[in-house]
């Protein structure tokens, strides 16, 4: 008489799976290696002491105080929605408006904060400024903003390098992040 081969009870397979799952949930993290990339200026003592005269018209001043309030070109401002376009107009002015920049090479966006400004507000504004510049680069290279940033992140691929160089031609990333004022702590 044929006897059915005894089955190994696989009710515990789910238990083992849960155990492994719990192990991985506890000991791993989802990696986050993305963010806003900036290049810091040279060390403080190395900068030449002579003051390079920068004309008022070539500086677009964005300031934050210790209460996170925003001042754009000396005017207090609540809503940052139009700021990106203003920065783009400023950079691409090329001398048309006498109060705005001479050309993109000389145009500098100056971002000054206070020691008491929150990091959140700083990132919010830095994001807007970088967006203005990346939009300009993307337009010049004929790609979308997202594609330009993806290309800029990996310059070892020659196609990416071409897009990056084409986009940045003639428009240096002149974002000057000034030393913070000392009102807050």
């Amino acid at each position: 008489m044929a006897r059915t081969t005894p089955d190994i009870p696989n009710a515990s397979m789910a238990d083992i799976a849960f155990l492994l799952l719990t192990f991985f949930l506890v000991t791993t993290t989802i990696p986050n290696n993305k963010g806003l990339s900036i290049g810091l200026p040279p060390p403080p003592e190395a900068t030449p002491p002579e003051d390079i005269k920068i004309q008022e018209r070539n500086m677009f001043k964005i300031q934050l105080n210790s209460s996170d309030a925003l001042l754009v070109e000396g005017v207090p401002r609540e809503d940052i929605s139009g700021l990106k376009d203003e920065i783009k107009t400023f950079v691409l002015n090329n001398g048309r408006d006498p109060a705005s920049s001479d050309n993109p090479e000389k145009a500098i966006v100056s971002f000054k904060t206070d020691r008491g400004t929150s990091h959140k507000r700083f990132i919010e504004l830095l994001d807007v400024i970088q967006e203005a510049y990346y939009d300009l680069y993307a337009e010049q290279a004929g790609v979308t903003n997202a594609k330009f940033r993806a290309a800029a992140s990996d310059l070892s691929v020659p196609d990416n390098k071409a897009i990056y160089d084409k986009g940045r031609a003639g428009i240096p990333l002149n974002i000057s992040i000034a030393d913070p004022t000392k009102v807050g702590n």
């Binding site: 696989n10 789910a14 900036i38 008491g116 990346y134």
Partner: protein
């Protein structure tokens, strides 16, 4: 024929034989998308959101700094602290730390070191800017402020 229906004894059991399959799917997902934790983060980290994200391509060329209020406030106080590689450091130790990170790299790649700063949203610009100044002195000028993707900002 009886007018009363025989009470049928029907019990429907939901088949749970596919539960291990579902759990294995979840397990594979986590095995593939996560990495082992290298350092335990001792500071509060609520990372800000932004849209202009750039990605760091080579993980080996990245050094991480974490800034925020310590999690164990009774031990370390409420002031934001700087954490690098599992220990709290002061601004004056940053140059030494950067050079230690550089020593771990290949000769040719030393100048490509990027410092990734994961800063809490409530940390003040003062301490961050002190860190930036020290990094400038150490010639570690490539900096990345880690941010999460902001999907809900209107263009």
């Amino acid at each position: 024929m009886s007018k009363f229906k025989k009470k049928t004894n029907v019990k429907q059991e939901i088949p749970t034989s596919s539960m291990p399959d579902v759990v294995f799917m979840l397990l594979f997902f986590f095995m593939v998308t996560t990495e082992m934790r290298k350092t335990s983060i001792e500071v509060k980290q609520e990372i800000p959101k932004a849209t202009q994200l750039r990605k760091l391509m080579r993980k080996s060329l990245v050094a991480n700094i974490y800034i925020g209020e310590p999690k164990k406030t009774d031990l370390y106080g409420r002031e934001p602290r700087i954490q690098a590689d599992d220990v709290f450091i002061d601004t004056k130790d940053i140059i030494r730390w950067v050079n230690a990170q550089r020593d771990n790299l290949d000769e040719t790649e030393r100048d490509q070191l990027t410092v990734a700063m994961k800063v809490d949203i409530d940390a003040k610009r003062g301490i961050i800017s002190d860190v930036e100044t020290e990094l400038r002195k150490a010639s570690a000028r490539k900096l990345l402020y880690s941010t999460l993707e902001n999907n809900d900002r209107k263009q």
